[in-house]
């Protein structure tokens, strides 16, 4: 029985270092190649030795697909391709291809230059890795090889995020990456057609959350920022340079404009301007409204938001600062946090998910005394707010996507085990499909039951359709044909054609029965009576009286002769072929019962 095998090397019952192996119809595909923000040791990258112990990865993998530019989905890519060694194709969308190397370089700098790690990938390796990338368009069907094809769908989430369909013959898998089912201020909603994959691999970050309306959250966010600024406090918003940052910038920019606020807004990284430039050039990937108005007003040119300088952090008075990274695990956002944490007038707003082990995760779970480097204890007096702006689908969105795609099986990744378990039950209940949630390194096998494609001769197809003859096209038709199997090709043809192609002659099997009928009339009158009788009963059949005195019912021949001895008895010869067996048999038994007394 054909099967699809799935093994998460990362993101199995976990968020971080997404990396999932899929084997489908003899093809091996690796989905995403991420790093884990929570670890600094070997565990930060997926264990690629699982794929193959001694062979080359290139020989084993047919292709690698990257869903979007977040590091937990692409952070291990240069390590994988250049240090472990993979030379096959890597597929991603155009914006991902553009932005991914910048984030990788950023990550490399923090790790090597700031933390002083050696044995890490180099800038050159990032460049060499990106040379192996093939950029794909949305909805383009990319033929990886003769059998394997992939197709990208819009996923929302961040600029260039895509879901991928992987298809071999009739079997298919859809991998969502991270996605968002509700449009936001700068991106559209994820969309997929009813492609009915054998398996849908979906993220489940917000497996148990059902978020209230986006508008409420936005109002809430603006209110909190506004209040803090009004009372002279400073607001820190840790973000990743690309993605949520742009959405929140658009939000604050329009609010500042409307309320005529004067407090400065800063964006902490040199990436910003560059980032906004990417949004301008890839505007076709943003939402409809921005796309429609960009000629008149480009939403990514901000008036109120200025570049941040390190020295500004000590300035008196209110301000709002967007700083990277988003989970407060390193870099500028952490520095500013340490400066401002002691003042209860200030506020930190965490707009996204934080991985376990990061400072962000600690303060969100209520910890107020943090141990920093050098055993120093940092007391957090500032207000800590969490607002879910990360653009992941919530439980409702995940269910909606399943409804859209109609998969035969679902597999959950990129979430926490407990929450997954809850969602798993819900999915199985509502959709009656199997739902899996393998841990890292655990293989899930899904049996598929693919149909066998067969060539049907148009002659047979048309004939069978014609016999149904009814204009009612929806009525199922009985089809009879011969399946010829030769050198792995399957052709369904009419029996006549099969005989002809094989050079065989048809063997005709014919039956003839004599039926005696008591009728003193002349022969041709008897025939006429038989004809009328049959015509009356066999309404759906073609009954004909031929000039030579015989009767045909379809291809069955009936002839009458007088009995050689008894003139009052007529002999009917009924003759039919095996193909008319049922009708012939029926006719003889019918005629044996004799003719009705008076002919109508």
């Amino acid at each position: 029985m054909p099967e699809i095998k799935v093994t998460p090397l990362g993101a199995g019952q976990d968020v971080g270092r997404s990396c999932i192996l899929v084997s489908i119809a003899g093809k091996n595909v690796m989905l995403d190649c991420g790093m884990h923000m929570g670890y600094n040791d070997d565990r930060r990258f997926p264990d690629f030795s699982y794929i193959t112990q001694n062979g080359r990865l290139t020989d084993f993998l047919d292709c690698v697909i990257i869903s979007h530019f977040h590091l937990d989905h692409c952070g291990a890519l240069p390590y994988f391709s250049e240090m472990v060694g993979y030379d096959g194709p890597i597929y991603m969308s155009h914006p991902t291809k553009a932005i991914c190397p910048i984030l990788l370089e950023d990550y490399r700098k923090i790790t090597v230059d700031k933390k002083g790690e050696t044995n890490f990938f180099t800038s050159q390796m990032i460049k060499d890795c990106m040379k192996k990338v093939v950029a794909v368009h949305l909805h383009q069907t990319v033929q990886v090889d003769e059998e394997l094809e992939i197709k990208a769908y819009y996923a929302g989430h961040v600029l260039g995020a895509a879901m991928f369909q992987i298809k071999v013959g009739c079997e298919s898998v859809v991998y969502t990456g991270d996605y968002n089912m509700t449009p936001d201020r700068h991106l559209g909603a994820a969309w997929i057609d009813k492609c009915r994959p054998d398996l849908l691999i979906t993220e489940s970050t917000y497996a148990t959350t059902i978020r209230d309306s986006k508008r409420c959250r936005e109002r809430d966010f603006l209110k909190k920022v506004h209040e803090t600024v009004e009372r002279g406090g400073k607001v820190l918003i840790p973000v990743f340079a690309l993605g949520r940052a742009q959405e929140l910038c658009i939000l604050l920019e329009t609010f500042w404009e409307r309320m005529n606020l004067k407090a400065p807004i800063y964006f902490s990284t040199g990436l910003t301007e560059k980032a906004n430039h990417y949004y301008k050039l890839f505007i076709t990937w943003t939402n409809q409204k921005i796309r429609k108005t960009f000629v008149q007003r480009n939403m990514f040119e901000f008036k109120h938001i200025k570049a941040f300088d390190r020295a500004f952090a000590d300035n008196p008075g209110p301000m709002v600062v967007f700083a990277t990274p988003g989970m407060l695990h390193a870099g500028q956002s952490l520095q500013i946090f340490r400066k401002w944490a002691g003042n209860e007038k200030n506020m930190v707003i965490m707009p996204g998910y934080c991985v376990q082990g990061t400072v962000g995760h600690k303060i969100l779970s209520g910890q107020r005394k943090l141990e920093m480097e050098g055993r120093q204890i940092l007391e957090v007096k500032m207000q800590v707010e969490y607002m879910s702006f990360s653009a992941h689908a919530d439980a409702k969105g995940i269910m909606q996507l399943i409804r859209q795609a109609e998969p035969r099986n679902v597999l959950l990744v990129h979430g926490e085990a407990k929450k997954m378990e809850f969602l798993r039950q819900k999915i199985e209940q509502e959709f009656h499909v199997s739902c899996f949630m393998p841990a890292n390194g655990e293989t899930t096998t899904i049996l598929t039951n693919p149909s066998i494609p067969v060539d049907i001769s148009l002659g047979l197809l048309k004939r069978e359709t014609a016999i149904g003859a009814a204009p009612d096209a929806k009525k199922p038709k009985l089809m009879h044909g011969t399946l010829l199997m030769k050198d792995n090709s399957f052709r369904l043809v009419s029996p006549e054609q099969a005989l002809k192609e094989l050079g065989l002659a048809e063997h005709q099997l014919r039956f003839t029965c004599r039926v005696h009928i008591q009728d003193p009339r002349k022969e041709h009158e008897t025939v006429l009576r038989v004809y009328n009788h049959l015509k009356g009963i066999l309404k759906d059949y073609s009954v004909q009286h031929l000039p030579d005195g015989s009767i045909t019912v379809e291809s069955i021949l009936i002839q009458a002769t007088a009995h050689s001895e008894d003139q009052g008895t007529k002999v009917l010869l009924v003759s039919w072929t095996y193909q008319d067996e049922e009708l012939g048999s029926y006719l003889t038994s019918l005629l044996k019962k004799g003719l009705p007394q008076s002919t109508p």
Binding site: H139, V454, L478, T482, L483, C513, V515, L538
Partner: protein, 631 residues
């Protein structure tokens, strides 16, 4: 329906629409019939020996009478020039189907339509001439009016609401996207290399493939290169949209364009470039970007005037995914893919929606002006022709190949201004076509009649025609062409449970067969996986032999022959003790004496003659069937 273009050469028969009252045009004398009758002098004006219609310009539509457009399910658009008739079709013909096009095609197509509507609507013309269209009258007119075809079908320009309604019927598609149409065929757009988002289309079923190649280019300009590989194995290749100027080399023309431009400006003259707001203009600006500094033109202002100039320049920068590799990689830096962004930043290129407003304040001469429409009948270009036409210092350079430049200039004669003709048409020429056909090897080529013979003006140039084997089949306006191939197979899928129920039999080495009896469902033109016939439901009462058999039950065909001796043995085994065999000319007759039954056995037939004993007949039937193969 493949494409939906508009024939705009009809506008050449009309007088230009000036933006500001032109004394010259308004003083043109009315045209008078040879016999002196004056009744047409209001509608027709004479200028330098040519006669023009003084009316709102009209366009020649695609043929709409030949077929009922409500029966058209789908329109495939190949590039933005080939969709200009869309509002006429979607809004006025009963067409209710879907239009497919790529995103750049739609966006830039919208700009072209917007410019067209705008330049015609902002010059309201009181007069709409129709008398000259009367067949009796048209017959008397001088050429080319006399020979204009289908004048009664010519239409005025559509309006913006009509454009919006038409564009809303378009479904956006991407290159190499497979689109299922009604389950019957699959269509796929491929890059054609001619313009932003321009496509060739593949229309295919499982066994047939038709390629529609329209407006393709093998030259490296700004769009993504042409996808040739996917055109291979076509049964039929429909070829159209070849270059209009097969004798001109686009690269040479660009060089000539630059040098003429530089010469005029150095002599203190102005340069006018009538053009469309998108397409070749991007390449020209890129050339000038590299050229102006070396030619010492850095201080000469370049103006791009069109209601959609800004949009066109902006849109060109956001379609990176549809651009050639070089431009694509620029976006990764991130830098705008086209250098005209820099020309704008450094104020070398300025764009304006029209000559009114800011332009009149900034206007400095000598300068270079890019503006539309290339027909010189409407748009801001009319103003510059009137303004600069009298001075021989100025030059008008024609780059768009769609209109004959002499015809375009006719209503402006006599003209002192220099005229340079540098048509830049990057579409396939005949040498490239034969290369392409050799490469993709279609079984049949179908093309317009014009391509199968040399151009009428150069009848000796047999190299200017399509040369392929078998010869291309040609078509003409309103002609029906039957394509020479026959469909023989379709694909269906067999469900696993049906497959399990089949019993394959090896007939010859390597060839097995199985008889399949199944219920076939047809839905959305797809033949759904056949299922094994269901046994009659138990609820249904058992059929009594009195009932007429329902429908036709299908019995397999038989093949093989019956070995005499074994058959007799079998009969004896089943209790027939009085079997008697007689030889005949073609075989044998087996007699069952007691049962008064006779079986004729021949090579390819068996005949059972049995009276009055149905169970016996059935028993004999089954014995015979055991020896035969079923199909």
């Amino acid at each position: 329906m493949l494409d939906c273009g508009l024939d705009m050469t009809s506008t050449l028969n009309f007088l230009p629409l000036p933006l500001v009252q032109s004394p010259r045009l308004s003083k043109l004398p009315g045209w008078v019939l040879k016999d002196g009758s004056m009744f047409l002098d209001k509608e027709l004006k004479e200028c330098s020996g040519h006669v023009f219609v003084d009316s709102v310009p009209e366009f020649c539509l695609p043929e709409t009478e030949l077929l009922d457009l409500s029966t058209v399910d789908v329109i495939l658009i190949s590039n933005y020039h080939c969709m200009m008739a869309l509002p006429y079709i979607t809004e006025y013909t009963g067409f209710t189907g879907t239009v497919y096009a790529t995103e750049p095609t739609v966006q830039i197509g919208r700009l072209l339509m917007e410019e067209l509507v705008n330049s015609i609507e902002r010059v309201p013309k009181a007069q709409s001439a129709s008398m000259w269209k009367n067949k009796e009258v048209q017959r008397l007119l001088p050429a080319p009016l006399k020979d204009a075809v289908e004048v009664s079908m010519w239409r005025k320009c559509y309006t913006m609401p009509e454009v919006n309604a038409a564009l809303s019927k378009i479904q956006l598609v991407g290159y190499s996207q497979k689109i299922e149409l009604f389950g019957a065929v699959q269509v796929t757009p491929l890059s054609s290399g001619y313009a932003l988002g321009s496509s060739n289309w593949i229309i295919q079923s499982h066994y047939e493939k038709v390629s529609y190649v329209s407006g393709s280019s093998l030259l490296t300009t700004h769009p993504q290169p042409m996808d040739q590989a996917s055109l291979k194995n076509s049964d039929v290749l429909i070829l159209t949209g070849l270059t209009q100027i097969p004798t001109a080399n686009p690269d040479g023309m660009v060089g000539e364009f630059c040098s003429n431009l530089a010469m005029t400006v150095r002599n203190g003259g102005n340069v006018l470039v009538p053009c469309y707001p998108s397409g070749v203009i991007y390449d020209l600006l890129e050339c000038l970007y590299q050229y102006i500094d070396s030619a010492g033109l850095s201080n000469v202002p370049f103006y791009f005037i069109s209601p959609v100039a800004n949009s066109s320049l902006e849109f060109s920068q956001i379609f990176a995914e549809w651009l050639c590799h070089n431009k694509q990689t620029k976006v990764y830096l991130p830098e705008p893919p086209f250098p005209h962004a820099e020309l704008i930043q450094t104020n070398k290129l300025k764009h304006y929606p029209s000559i009114h407003g800011d332009f009149s304040n900034d206007f400095k001469q000598p300068c270079v002006v890019f503006t539309g429409h290339p027909s010189l009948r409407f748009g801001d270009v009319v103003h510059f022709m009137e303004l600069w036409g009298k001075s021989s210092l100025n030059t008008v350079i024609f780059t768009e190949p769609d209109f004959s430049y002499l015809d375009a200039l006719a209503p402006y004669q006599p003209l002192a201004m220099k005229c340079v003709y540098c048509p830049i048409d990057t579409r396939l020429n005949f040498i490239q076509v034969s290369k392409l056909l050799k490469e993709v090897q279609p079984l049949h080529v179908v093309c317009p009649e014009q391509y199968t013979q040399p151009p009428p003006t150069q009848s000796h140039r047999t190299d200017l025609m399509i040369d392929c084997q078998p010869p291309a089949m040609s078509y003409r306006r309103a002609e029906v062409l039957t394509l020479p191939y026959k469909r023989r197979y379709e694909k269906i899928e067999i469900m696993p449970d049906l497959a399990d129920s089949l019993v394959p039999l090896e007939i010859k080495p390597g060839i097995s067969l199985a008889t399949v009896s199944a219920v076939l469902h047809t839905k959305d033109n797809k033949h759904l996986p056949p299922k094994p016939p269901q046994p009659p439901a138990s609820k249904k009462r058992k059929r009594v032999s009195d009932d007429v058999p329902e429908g036709k039950s299908l019995k397999p065909l038989l093949s093989g022959s019956i070995p005499m001796d074994q058959f007799v043995q079998t009969l004896e085994k089943h209790g027939f003790s009085d079997v008697k065999v007689e030889d005949t000319a073609k075989g044998h007759i087996v007699l069952l004496q007691e049962a008064e039954t006779l079986i004729q056995l021949e090579e390819d037939s068996t005949h059972i003659i049995c009276d009055n004993d149905e169970p016996l007949r059935v028993k004999l039937r089954d014995l015979v069937l055991k020896f035969l193969q079923k199909f």
